[in-house]
Amino acid sequence: MELSKTELLERTLAKEKAAREQAEKTLNEKTSTFTHLSQELQKENTRLKNLLDKKALELKGVFSTILDAHIVMDIEGNVLKMNHAATKLLGYTLKDKPFNLLQLLAEEYRDYTFEAFGDLYKTGAYKNYQAVIITKNKERKRIQVNASLIYDHEGKPIAAQGIARDITRETQMKALLEEQKKQLNIIVENSPIGIALSDRKSKGLLLVNKAFCTMLEYEHDELKSLQIKDFTHPDDMAATVVKMQEIQKGEIDHFFLEKRYFTKSGKIIWAKTSVTAVREDSGEIKYQIATIEDITPQKKASNALEESNNRLSTLILNLQSGILLEDENGKIVLTNKQFCKQFGLEENSNALIGYDFAALAKKLIDKFENNQNIISRVETIISEKKRVLGEEIELKDGKILERNFIPIFQEDSYKGHLWSYEDITLKKKYKENLQAQKEKYSRMITNMNLGLVELDTEEVVLFANQSFCDITGYSLDELQGKKARDFLVTDPTYQSPSTRLTGSWELKITTKNKKQKYLLVTRTENYDVNKNLIGYIGITLDITVQKNLELQKESLLKNLEKQNEQLNEYAHIVSHDLKSPLHSISALISWTKEDFSEHMKKESLVNLELIEGKVEKMNLLIENILKYSSIDKDNIQNAPIDLNSLVEDALGMIFIPENIQVSVLNTLPIINADATRIQQLFQNLLSNAVNHIEQPKGLVEIDYIEKENHFLFSIQDNGIGIKKEYYKKIFTIFNSLGNNEKSTGIGLSIVKKVVDLYEGDIWLESEVGKGTTFFFTLKK
């Protein structure tokens, strides 16, 4: 605006100046013509005089038409003639008294004026003389003068004439204009907003300010050959072009656009761009002024804000809690998927925006369990506008939701509220389950037969259950806060490891009524939720009864062992004591026979032999009883035995009559057993077989088959055979079948005992008169 006003002023001034110059020019031309003519007239006097008059008249007419002051003065500067405008300019008139122009000059212009006069004399004319004069009214006026000399007939200068113009105001105006232009430049140059001016004719930018250069990182001169569109980001090009076309068509004079530019270094800046068209009267565009303002930081911030807004909306939309945001008028502003899901709404969460909450609540009412109070409760909450957290509400479909209400205030003014719903069905059920479990275990602990005691790290009793109290005879009060071990355990030597804190062991305690009890204790560490040791939990089982039984059993066993040992010893002593007299009798009979055989009758000798036989049988009996009693598990020494050589040894111990053939049909195995016992076994069976053969040709066969878990042996004879009713009986002690002198009835009992020792079986097959086969197995 400022600019156009100035422009207008300038234009007016220019017009004035042009008109004046035209007038001056005209005047000068005329004057010179006049001068020339007057020289001609000197030669042709008469004719010229007439002409002069005529010309003078003409000149007068010219003078009168000049608007500016016209002054004619002599060489000394005394004014000869001046027009009305001159009178007005100087304030003096010729009527008052003659005055000299030079005297009006301001002091500082004197020298300059003398020089100007000098020039005027030399050249005959002087243009654009400027000086300040002081008028009659003491006004200082700046004048501009164009002067020329007037010559006489002989070409001598006689006078000078000049046209003076008051340029005081013009100069002031010019100075003002200059000042304004300077100010404008300062503003433009220092503006933080980039400014660029371009016109239709030139290709580049006519004018750019510093800010514009800085923003786009170009040097001032570089921009002279560039256009705005050269820096425009391709994505914004289309929008720019559309707007520019509108301007070109004259539809608009001005537009704003937020667009991106590339700087010289390739950086992208966002700028608020304003383009203004300055048009000619014809409507054609003269200038385009573009201002750009760097809004990159704001743009970045706003992008970031938008992004964070988007993130927030996505977050809310997908939140596991149902969200419902209302404005102060009860209109839904925001809700999410989870909310719709929780209440079984089929609408998209966006569809609910703008919906009235009260209307929605009425629609949802049937979904609630115990729904009589729901609406009123909601109304109360909303009217109180206070934060409500963790209210449980139950839905008809079994879901349990936890509802929170958060009112929203902005600078103390109520802006709406937020409802959030969290599905706590699982949590709730889990809690209930946990509670039920806890109760179950509490009941078990209270009612179980096991004593339970909780100790701290110093082994001080924190809690004991009823069973523990029953076992110890102390009440909970008497136990709590005490180190129970100190008064319960009266026999610390009994198994109780005072240094061990966890594990299982037995304790011998004394109850309150001084009864001895045995407890089996299992103790484990007790940790808190942070895995810090806070003590121990001991479970005790009253094993007094079992322990007493065990102790009883132990002492019984010990007794038994002792008795067994005594019995064994006794057997040996008895056998010795029985054998000694037999040996004596045997010796004595032998000596009697030896000493008196010649004097005795034959019958007496037979009797003595009978006595010897009975003594011998008795001795054998005693020896066999001893053997039988010594077969037991504690008395065997197992080692690998080759049965082939063992059987050979056994046969060597037996008297085998010549009519009896004993053969081993198979190679016998090597077994792990006690050689003495196994030899007894074979020896007894073989001697039984040999002794019970009455056939003229006796046959005894030993055979063996290896089975998966045991060895199966058989000893077959062609002897007298055994009746079926005796199959079992023969294995019991003192049951002899035959009348054999040597038979004691113990042999097979020993066999059975050895077979039993090696977890085997023994049985027989027999036919009276034909023979017997004994089978027996020994475990591998």
Partner: protein
């Protein structure tokens, strides 16, 4: 050449002593038999030490000091422990055999029932010891 032995026979049974004596006599041997009827008596005889026996025949089952107890005392004596001692018994008890060998014996003879067989065994023992080199006092 066989040695004539001095033998300390320790047995409480009179007939057993008779058996030894009769055997030596019937075999026509010149061994000298010193009789002791129990361990105590035997220790008394040995305590004189002037004429120690070449061989001891020891029964196990005896009143007062029994065979094993006697043997233990004998083997603790610096001098007496070198007298070879042969057990003459009816006990087949494994424990007895083991105990005797552990303390230190020169033989363990089981007395058979029949006198003929007894004679046979005793003959072998005496023959064996009479050809042995012995420590003479």
């Amino acid at each position: 050449m066989t040695n004539s032995l001095s033998i300390l026979l320790i047995d409480d049974d009179m007939i057993e002593i008779m058996k030894v004596n009769r055997t030596i006599k019937s075999l026509g041997l010149s061994h000298k038999i010193i009789e002791a009827h129990n361990g105590e008596e035997a220790l008394e005889i040995l305590s004189k030490k002037d004429r120690l026996p070449d061989l001891i025949l020891l029964d196990l089952n005896m009143p007062k000091l029994n065979g094993i107890e006697f043997l233990t005392i004998l083997k603790e004596d610096d001098v007496l422990q070198y007298i070879p001692t042969v057990i003459l018994t009816t006990s087949m008890d494994y424990k007895d055999v083991m105990a005797c060998y552990k303390i230190g014996i020169a033989g363990y003879i089981l007395k058979p029932l029949k006198y003929e067989m007894y004679m046979q065994k005793l003959k072998s023992v005496l023959e064996y010891w009479s050809i042995n080199e012995l420590i003479k006092a």
